[in-house]
Symmetry: C2
């Protein structure tokens, strides 16, 4: 309980530091994302929303602010639409997506820091890597059997 409270407060801070306001809608959106435990698309967010959902436009704008505040991460699962996941208090990680059914599995941890250093070291144009997107694709056992 207290921990949950604590997370909300830290998201607050992240937003404020970027000059964004902490609104009820954004908090509810964050709670929804945190709760789902999965990267969600805009449509999925609207479906899961309890009560009157915000306007789609608002959702896009909120997610952009949250993303810039690094409280939410925007990821691309090769589906052509954006997905968003809650990031505070969760280690950076990646996913495997089933090419057939779309099942998403989270992969614990990420060991690419060393690789980033190497890249920055040998690159001429880049001396700084802020982040990376890594997603794996394959077939889950259910879809392999079929």
């Amino acid at each position: 309980m207290m921990q949950h409270k604590h997370e909300i407060i830290s998201s607050d801070k992240a937003l404020r530091e970027k000059g964004f306001r902490v609104t009820k809608g954004r908090l509810k959106l964050l709670a929804l994302l945190e709760h789902s435990g999965q990267p969600l698309s805009i449509q999925q967010i609207l479906t899961l929303w309890k009560g009157t959902p915000p306007n789609v436009t608002t959702l896009y704008r909120s997610l952009t602010s949250l993303n810039l505040s690094e409280v939410v991460r925007r990821i691309d699962l090769n589906t052509g639409i954006a997905h968003f996941e809650y990031t505070p208090d969760r280690p950076h990680h990646h996913h495997i997506i089933c090419n057939d059914c779309g099942t998403i599995e989270e992969i614990a941890g990420c060991s690419l820091r060393a690789l980033e250093k190497e890249i920055v070291h040998s690159s001429k144009q880049f001396k700084n890597i802020s982040t990376h997107n890594l997603e794996f694709f394959g077939h889950c056992i259910r879809c392999t059997k079929i």
Copy 2:
């Protein structure tokens, strides 16, 4: 010269094996992608096209076929639109993209095979990874100075 011819012929084969036809438009598209040496968006392809460009619809359809033939790879650079790059005779690799100006630098090689094995080993739902998308983001030196 001969080498170039050779590459075209192997793309031919890849298309045919998937039951696709080798058309003039597709060959020209492949040549364009190969030549640019960069992942290109649909709009960029149209801009770079010499002579009367194909219809956008055709471009989408051709790129889909080429992608299925594994002669072209569709990648997501977090820009919201699809990018396509030529793959034959080139080792699998990734990119760094500048968050400010969009500069794309190719990173030679890819060392994720071992990681893929580990993942498959510890995953319950996935026993097979067919591919992965990995892109790094940062600021190029030009944009860092500004």
